[in-house]
């Protein structure tokens, strides 16, 4: 901070030289900041471009149609077949099943943390929930293989314990911190007025929660669910270890006790030995394109609902 005496020594108007230096400095500063911001944007665009470019030789040779509709993934055979349908379906299977477990629990936990439990306990419980997100996924994977899989075989009589159910249960636990955290933020951002108005009209706490608070925070809750889904669909290590990696679509379709394989696990598991310049490597990039497009769509959806949530709380 400049003292008053320093102020007095400065001329009221800047000389043209000082003006120019100031102009250039501010211009340069802006340019540097712009470049820094642009790198992250560029990185996203370049990744997308790179992945698409690397996948084109495969798509040109084998065709998009077979890639998206064939159920046979046999990349190392003498006559390789690249049908990614089982992988795409596998990814959707585990992420949707994970949401079925995680969303009810997550929303209930968020409501409990924001409206029911005392402030003191909330301040302990929320960080603890967020620690769940800090556990490395490979640790979850070991738990899935060594504890959950044998347990499921004993308890439910499944012939194999590494299956869609195992992977989705673990993914549900991994998606929980995201869902609880974002949903809790959205619910507690609503403010007292809404709740007090509801109570003053004679509503009980249950009615207030179910009929007023949750509907009012629905944008934020949807955003939480979508973010949780992104977490689940992009997760690699856990599904690679827990899902069994069999390239099949469960039959009947609701039978989660069968092994499935996801797109992420396929890329991680096969990239190492897919030689440069071969169709196999290029096909893995094509799988990457599908995965990227899915997460982009989910991301846009979550951004939309998050911005709506912000607007809604801004108005009230």
């Amino acid at each position: 901070m400049l003292g008053p005496s320093a102020d007095r020594r400065r001329p009221l108007a800047l000389t043209p030289g000082e003006d120019l230096v100031g102009f250039i400095a501010s211009y340069l500063g802006r340019a540097v900041l712009f470049l820094i911001t642009a790198t992250s944007v560029l990185a996203v665009l370049l990744i997308l471009l790179f992945v698409i470019l690397r996948s084109t030789p495969f798509l040109r040779e084998f065709g998009v149609r077979e890639f998206l509709t064939s159920r046979v993934w046999r990349p190392t055979a003498d006559e390789p077949v690249f049908g990614a349908l089982t992988l795409i379906v596998g990814s959707l299977y585990v992420s949707i099943a994970a949401l079925l477990f995680a969303v009810p629990v997550g929303i209930l936990a968020a409501v409990f943390l924001s409206d029911i439990v005392s402030w003191k306990i909330r301040n302990v419980a929320k960080p603890v929930v967020e620690i769940l997100a800090a556990i490395p996924s490979v640790a979850y994977g070991f738990f899935a293989v060594l504890v959950l899989a044998p347990w499921m075989q004993r308890r439910f009589g499944f012939s194999t314990g590494t299956n869609a159910l195992n992977a989705s249960m673990i993914l549900a636990v991994m998606a929980l911190p995201t869902i609880i955290s974002v949903a809790e933020d959205a619910i507690s951002a609503l403010g007292r007025e809404l709740r007090e108005a509801s109570y003053s009209l004679g509503a009980t706490r249950l009615e207030t929660m179910v009929k007023v608070v949750i509907p009012a925070a629905h944008s934020g809750i949807i955003a939480a669910v979508v973010l949780g889904m992104m977490r689940a669909i992009g997760e690699t290590m856990v599904v690679w270890m827990a899902s069994g990696n069999a390239t099949q679509i469960p039959h009947p379709w609701w039978d989660l006790s069968q092994s499935i394989r996801t797109m992420t696990a396929t890329i991680a598991g096969e990239m190492g030995e897919a030689p440069e310049g071969m169709a196999h490597r290029s096909a893995l990039f094509a799988v990457g394109v599908v995965l990227l497009l899915m997460t982009f769509v989910l991301n846009i959806v979550s951004e939309y609902f998050l911005s709506r949530a912000k607007k809604a709380t801004g108005k009230s």
């Binding site: 190392t76 003498d78 012939s159 194999t160 590494t162 069999a246 096969e270 190492g272 030995e273 440069e276």
Partner: protein
């Protein structure tokens, strides 16, 4: 510093090596990796000024690295493919194979499983999803849970070549990404069948006879057991005699080398 240089000099005199290349780049198979690691550790202790790096990126990557001149020794759990050989020669690299050890891929089942022997053809049909219940091969009525290594592992490639005879595996086959994991899955799953390197055999899983031959050090080293393979080091030409590469590639012939190979769970070539 001077003292260190001096002792290094004396050391090189004593051990009788003309110290030229002080770096040794080794790249390749995850299967041969532990052997290369053990050798490298021993070499570093004996030659403290030697800089050895061992990368474990897969046999295919090892071959590519040798072709591009990015490594001195490529560790491989299979022989070079025709295409890799042609690429190498086109690049002026002449791959020479050194067999360092034998590896047996043992077919294992849960200890409670009464099935004790299968033929190669039966194992192949199980992995092709044609045999799906243990009762079809003389066991109890129990669905078979088929566990394979991931397609990028050397163990998979050996199994694929020696057992599957290039017939594709069925869609119900589960994949795991490491020997210990395959072991853990078979150990905990009553209906499971899997395959692991001989170093991973213990009492918690049951190794079955394949074509009436039980896997053991003798049957693997002599090649009688049907699912056995040699492990290779590949160099560009036969290494210059006395060079570090030469010493490394012939280290398996020494008593210490055999000891290390065995300690890593492989079968030394001299176990005839």
């Amino acid at each position: 510093m001077k003292k260190m240089l001096f002792s290094a000099f004396v050391f090189s005199l004593v051990t009788g090596i003309a110290v030229q290349a002080q770096t040794l780049q080794i790249d390749g198979s995850t299967t041969v990796g532990p052997i290369a690691d053990a050798f490298a550790e021993y070499f570093k202790r004996v030659h403290p000024d030697l800089d050895i790096t061992v990368k474990k990126t897969g046999s295919g990557d090892g071959a590519a690295a040798l072709v591009d001149g990015r490594c001195d020794i490529a560790t491989m759990s299979r022989f070079m493919k025709e295409k890799e050989f042609k690429d190498a020669v086109a690049n002026g690299v002449f791959p020479v194979a050194h067999v360092v050890a034998m590896d047996g891929v043992c077919v294992v089942v849960h200890p409670s499983n009464p099935v004790g022997a299968l033929t190669t053809a039966q194992v192949r049909e199980i992995y092709a999803d044609k045999i799906t219940n243990w009762s079809q091969v003389g066991g109890p009525s129990m669905p078979i849970v088929v566990i394979s290594r991931d397609t990028s592992s050397g163990t998979y490639e050996t199994f694929d070549e020696l057992v599957m005879a290039k017939q594709p595996m069925g869609p119900g086959v589960e994949y795991v990404n490491a020997n210990p994991q395959a072991h853990a899955r078979v150990k905990t799953t009553p209906g499971a069948i899997g395959y692991v390197g001989i170093g991973f055999l213990d009492r918690e899983v049951k190794a079955i006879k394949v074509d009436q031959i039980a896997p053991s050090r003798q049957t693997i080293a002599s090649g009688v057991y049907p699912v056995a393979r040699p492990l290779f080091l590949f160099t560009n030409g036969y290494p210059k005699l006395g060079s570090m590469v030469h010493r490394f590639c012939s280290f398996y012939l020494t008593e210490k080398g055999q000891e290390l190979v065995e300690a890593k769970g492989f079968v030394p070539l001299t176990a005839y």
